[in-house]
């Protein structure tokens, strides 16, 4: 019976829409309604990847993320330093996160040794809530808006990993950074679960004053590998 009501509702909504569009000629196709894409769809002329990485760092910092530009050979050290400075003792590292970047975590001497939790098998959510943070990579990053995009690919983990713990350390290579939103969307696969992260979680709900840190990680640190 519910099925019948549902198909009836569907038919009626579609019928109402078609009736409402009586002024649209029958032979008009969607592409007959012009959409001028005169806005910028690529990086400004002369912009190079190094500039994009620098802009990303600036814009992320502007929204309260701590950002470091680090050369490839110093990444493991930077990861270990960041976690030590945070005082993180147990962090989740998703499958596919490069082994060489975790190398610093096994060596002691930078402070507290960090215990790594693998997410295979999956760490239960209640357990995630008790960990000190997550270290991941990203799928791409948008310089102009200071945005990291995660698509659940290797090294990025499922969505809950970068959501439930209070600290997220994200690594992105300069080569993954695009200038604007259009370039990023063109690179991404909509069939995957995508999460766009621009700074730590925030709210402006009280007197429109921006406060960093509500339900998502209250601290976001980013290492841009240059």
């Amino acid at each position: 019976m519910r099925e019948a009501a549902m198909s009836e509702a569907r038919a009626e909504v579609l019928h109402r829409i078609r009736r409402a569009l009586a002024d649209v000629p029958d032979d008009e196709r969607p592409q007959d309604v012009p959409v001028a894409r005169d806005y910028s769809r690529s990086a400004p002329p002369g912009a190079d990847p190094a500039q994009a990485a620098k802009l990303l760092a600036e814009r992320l910092a502007d929204y309260g993320a701590a950002v470091r530009l680090v050369p490839e050979d110093a990444v493991a050290r930077a990861v270990a330093d960041a976690l030590a400075a945070r005082g993180a003792a147990r962090v989740v590292v998703p499958g596919g996160f490069p082994r060489e970047w975790q190398a610093g975590l096994t060596t002691e001497g930078t402070g507290t040794p960090v215990r790594i939790l693998s997410d295979d098998p999956r760490v239960p959510v209640s357990e995630l809530d008790r960990t000190d943070g997550t270290v991941t990579t990203a799928a791409t990053a948008i310089a102009e808006t200071g945005t990291l995009v995660l698509d659940g690919g290797p090294g990025q983990g499922r969505r809950a990993l970068t959501l439930v713990p209070d600290y997220h350390l994200c690594l992105v290579r300069a080569g993954q950074v695009v200038f604007g939103v259009p370039e990023a969307l063109a690179r991404l696969d909509p069939a995957r679960p995508l999460t766009f992260v621009s700074g730590p979680s925030a709210t402006s709900d009280i007197e429109l004053e921006r406060v960093e840190g509500v339900h998502g990680p209250r601290t976001l640190e980013v290492i841009v590998i240059v």
């Binding site: 549902m6 959409v35 698509d151 659940g152 969505r159």
Partner: protein, 503 residues
């Protein structure tokens, strides 16, 4: 807990008068709207191609609306292919019933909610409460409204009418009744209040089996749903529960994935004045479909999970008509459906800044509400018919609208439609009389001169004090001065002065 409702609200002039007398409300609003206006101006000013983005946004919406049936069918097909289920609702009641039934079939008695205008519009929380299901709002401002048993007054910041001291009091009083209580020593710094909300809601997120959300955009060619947010409460609701039910108006569909490149630039800059909002989540069905794009080409990641995997195992999309198809039937009024709920028009509106959102008697306040609500609800009530007059036609709303809705045009159009609708009344409406009189007077210079002499004379007889404005005009024109002060006419008109000094 969710007993407040907009039903039976007085029409705009009456409600506006009460709001204007509330000086605390006016202070809170003036402070908040001034802050957000400045941020928006800066964020928009950074982009050289803002006008091109606006035009593209408008054009995409026009294309969508003119072929809405086609895009909805395509969306339905793609969502279904990706493991989701699509439901159609003719009106608010049907939409609520669908959601209630879906929640009941899970056996759960509570759920978490992401802020959603569509679910407010259909009165979902009330319907759920009647069915014995507790719906917890998780957006900070919605939480403030819900705990305060209050009504939302702004699209983006529903508790914009509350200041920090009032919010602290609400948290201290009400949090304990619905879960983790606020800490004893709670102060009124926004960071402290946000921390209290984090603690209060965390246990609810971790145990929730069902979530209800809206959607900012629904992409027809991929079946992807998009939620744009700041706090992470949206991510919690979209990630941790087993069942996700999203309710969205039929106008939320956009044709292609590429079109998001326009709206994901327009929305955050117009809304919170940020280059990008902290979190945007997209999902396609239950993620069990096959990849279509380039991506990274790996196999991990997609697939539904129970323990906070990649998202819910069951995804239901409820497509709501609720007066949208009627709105679509008016080729001028139709553009109100372009709205992406950014609230920039509220923040620049001199009327909104002074009266706040409650006076509009609708979940959609401000300039957009003045054109959207009467159309969605059919303009049957006195409250609806008063809304197109809740504006000075200054045009600031059109200037800032990211999808170029010509709000002043639609306001004037709706005024005409609603006044014409009263044509068969025995006594003509004052504004029709006034307009008819004005066109007669303005048609002939001699008549204008005579009218001005009469006005100057009347000015000396009116009860208002010099320089302060006449407080009340006589006869049918009193309706005008019920809501405004009319300036006292000059003793000598410009035309009279010109003649006297130039000859």
């Amino acid at each position: 807990m969710s007993g407040a409702t907009f039903l039976g609200m007085p029409s705009f002039p009456g409600a506006a008068k009460d709001a204007l007398a509330d000086t605390q409300l006016r202070r809170n609003l003036a402070h908040a709207t001034a802050t957000i206006r400045g941020k928006r101006t800066d964020a928009v000013g950074e982009l050289d191609d803002w006008q091109e983005l606006r035009e593209a946004g408008r054009a995409i919406k026009e294309r969508t609306l003119r072929h809405l049936d086609r895009y909805l069918l395509q969306l339905e097909e793609r969502v279904t292919a990706a493991g989701g289920r699509v439901h159609w609702a003719r009106d608010a009641e049907e939409a609520s019933r669908i959601v209630v039934d879906l929640v009941r079939s899970t056996g759960e008695r509570e759920l978490v909610k992401v802020k959603s205008m569509a679910t407010q519009e259909i009165g979902l929380n009330e319907a759920l409460a009647e069915a014995g299901i507790a719906a917890y709002e998780t957006d900070l401002a919605e939480l403030i409204v819900q705990l305060g048993e209050d009504l939302p007054s702004h699209l983006l910041v529903p508790a914009i009418h509350r200041n920090r001291a009032e919010i602290r009091e609400i948290f201290l009083r009400a949090m304990g009744e619905h879960g983790a209580a606020a800490p004893d020593g709670l102060g009124d710094a926004p960071a402290e209040l946000a921390e209290a909300a984090r603690r209060h809601l965390r246990e609810k997120f971790l145990r929730a089996k069902v979530a209800v959300s809206g959607a900012n955009f629904l992409v027809a060619d991929t079946g992807t749903a998009v939620v744009v947010e700041s706090e992470g409460n949206g991510r919690m609701c979209l990630t941790l529960p087993e069942t996700l039910i999203s309710v969205a108006g039929i106008e939320k569909v956009v044709p292609t994935w590429q079109d998001l490149e326009v709206f994901l630039q327009l929305l955050p800059r117009s809304s919170t004045g940020e280059r990008m909002n902290p979190y945007t989540s997209t999902w396609t069905g239950t993620g069990t479909g096959t990849g279509t794009g380039t991506g990274t080409g790996t196999e991990t990641g997609s697939g539904a999970g129970a323990d906070g995997g990649e998202g819910p195992r069951a995804f239901h999309l409820v497509l709501l008509d609720g007066g949208r198809s009627d709105t679509l039937a008016d080729p001028v009024g139709r553009q109100a459906l372009n709205c992406i709920r950014c609230s920039a028009c509220l923040n620049v509106c001199p009327v909104y800044e002074r009266v706040g959102g409650h006076a509009y008697g609708s979940v959609y306040p401000g300039p957009i509400g003045a054109i959207l609500s009467p159309q969605l609800r059919g303009g049957a009530t006195e409250s609806d018919r008063s809304l197109p007059y809740a504006s000075t036609l200054c045009g600031a709303c059109y200037e800032v609208c990211p999808v170029k809705i010509n709000i002043p045009d639609v306001l004037v159009h709706l005024r005409a439609r609603m006044v014409d609708g009263g044509r068969r009344r025995p006594v003509p409406k004052p504004e029709r009389l006034a307009m008819a009189a004005a066109s007669w007077v303005l048609a002939e210079p001699s008549r204008l001169a005579a009218a001005q002499r009469a006005g100057a004379l009347a000015g000396r007889l009116l009860p208002g004090r010099r320089g302060r404005g006449a407080s009340r005009l006589p006869g049918p024109l009193s309706a005008w001065t019920d809501a405004r002060d009319a300036p006292v006419p000059a003793e000598e008109s410009f035309r009279a002065w010109w003649r006297r000094t130039r000859r």
